[in-house]
Amino acid sequence: MDFGFSPEQEKFRQEIHEFLENDADAKGAKEEWAAGNGYGPHTWVIMKKLGARGWLTPAWPKEYGGLGLPAMYRALAMEEMDYFTGRGSRGVLCGIGMTGTVLLGHGSEEQKREYLLRISRGEIDFALGYTEPEAGSDLANLSIKAEDKGDYFLVNGQKMFNTACHYAQYHWLGARTQVVEPKYKGISLFIVDLKTPGITIIPIQALGFKTNQIFYDNVKVPKNCLVGELNRGFYYIMEALDHERTYTTSRLNGELEKLIQYAKTSGKSKDPIIRQKLAQLSTEMEIAKLFALRIPWMLDRGMRPTPEAAILKVFYAELQQRVINTAQQILSPYGQLKKDSKWAQLDGEFELEYTASLEGIITRGTCEVMRNIIALRKLGLPAR
């Protein structure tokens, strides 16, 4: 066992840390994300700067813009980026985490050349296109239709909560290519240029972040935009979701550190009840860190961390709720004041987080679905 990082790993982390701390665009990007709108001009600049150094995709092969390093380096890079880019950039971006992962494993050589280098350089991003009004937790139920018309696929239907649609260039679309039981056997993945005629994007304002509804009306998608094999999309999605559920804990830990600091300076740290709560959160945060680092450790050993990613997701999301609630208590009654209000404490961060954090217990698999995965995949309980 070893609960430390190697000197090379520490150096790698430190380089990113120093870069982000000193770069003006990193600060600009942080503000853009904090507003809940996703990428703005500064974010695009910083992504390109990070991409140029290989830091967006350190674990990818060098030929596709990566550094050919173990997954643990990717985790370290993500930790640093999350700490600085703040809320919104939770975990991975669709382009890197989903598209990249699936293309590396199942994309055509043409697709890899077309997209991977641009992703790794931070030039493009993808909007995750899975959720539909009737397909939330039950992803296999998605119904947006992609019909094979010989020369192209004709896509019709709608998607909900496709968050990056208003700034990404591409849609990472899961669509039904066959009506079949079980339903998950009729789903395929496509890369769709969001400027394709027939696509309409309707913004949705959610608590603390902006997302979108997207409508496909007779959209023609070229044949070469199909990713991997027809009707194998659900398998690819599941495989890559283990990556999308790879949380880093640095951001939440940063919030806890701010809170501990606030408790000290405000004198609230003298309250034995608050001491207990903060000590407990600090303990849970340590556990979350270890759960998070287990994922790359397993990936580097060729193991597939499906239930472990589910454990991380549940633990992290529920810990986040406890952190926010303890923050509200410590800041009470100021915790309800918004960022730009007089008397707001800690820049109103925990007022924003109080609602924005709810997303964590729901998206990327609800905590309930995660517990099912742990029971079935880790413990081998009977499905029915």
Partner: protein
Amino acid sequence: MDFSFNEEQEMLRKSARQFLEDECPKKFVRDMEEDEKGYSPELWKRMAELGWMGLLLPEEYGGLGGNFLDLTALLEEMGRALLPGPFLPTTVYSSLPILHYGTEEQKREFLPKIAEGKLIMTLAITEPSGRFDEAGIETKAIRSNNDYLITGTKLLVPDAHIADWFLCAAKEGEGITLFLIDAKTPGINCTLLKTLAADKQCEVILDNAKVPARNILGKSGAGWEIASKIEQWGAIAQCALISGCLQQVLEMTVDYTKERMQFGKLIGSFQAIQHQCADMAIDVDAVKFITYEAAWKLSQKLPATIEVSRAKAWTSDASRRVCLTGHRIHGGLGLTEDHDMQLYFRRAKAMELAFGDGDFHREIVAKELGL
């Protein structure tokens, strides 16, 4: 033992529900979040016509002579509807203390106007310390002939920006004195704060605001006794609001589980969802009973310190649990601004914090237990 409201209370509840469904739909609630005033003078007038402002006031002051249980029935409906505006500040936080501690002259001056809906009042106690106890008061009142000069900062004062009068706590020597202060008094400055619930809480700065000595409520230096009583009334009123609010969250969530299909089934048929709903139902029943018991004690004019604090402690925590589970079950949909769930979630936090959260009231319970 009787766990049910009486017939009159049921009628009040029923008519309030109907009225608020018509007059306070969620569109109105959303509009008022954006509105600077945060209430509708028109609706305020109609509520006064229904007698709501004077519900707890004796008939001689234009009231209906109701008790705390009547109020509870009404407040549950207001909580359910998320009614915005200065109802509690004007009635429970202001008219009740005037009724119980005011001089006959003060009663005649304020109470009939309040009952008629012609006067909006609010309570200015909390200060930057954020504490709910006597030691949190640093605003100073200095006697100058027949007047007092009051200086200090009051925070999170509900609806101060539209209030005609304030009931304000200030330190006079070693004691606390409560003053009735005309909002138009020179030296008073009011700033609207921006809050999670988009309710209208204000900072009120008093800079040598001159208040006549006859505007003292109760006795000079003995104001904290009144303030404690107001905090009790305020706490139980918040419990009643939360109770109505959570009942609606439960119903809304249960309804959703009976409509929403996933994995080819109604989500309400999944045991994980069923058990979450069951826990919500237990919490909501507990909120009601513990709130009703305290309200009953108050309506019987029995000592209710421990009952009120038990109610606020439990209700504050249950409120968070129930709203969070509501969001869990509603999934992504509940997070959108168009959905009502998030309105309840945000409001619930404000009610949880008002007049002390769970830990604060548990400490009072501990004291009352003789610990």
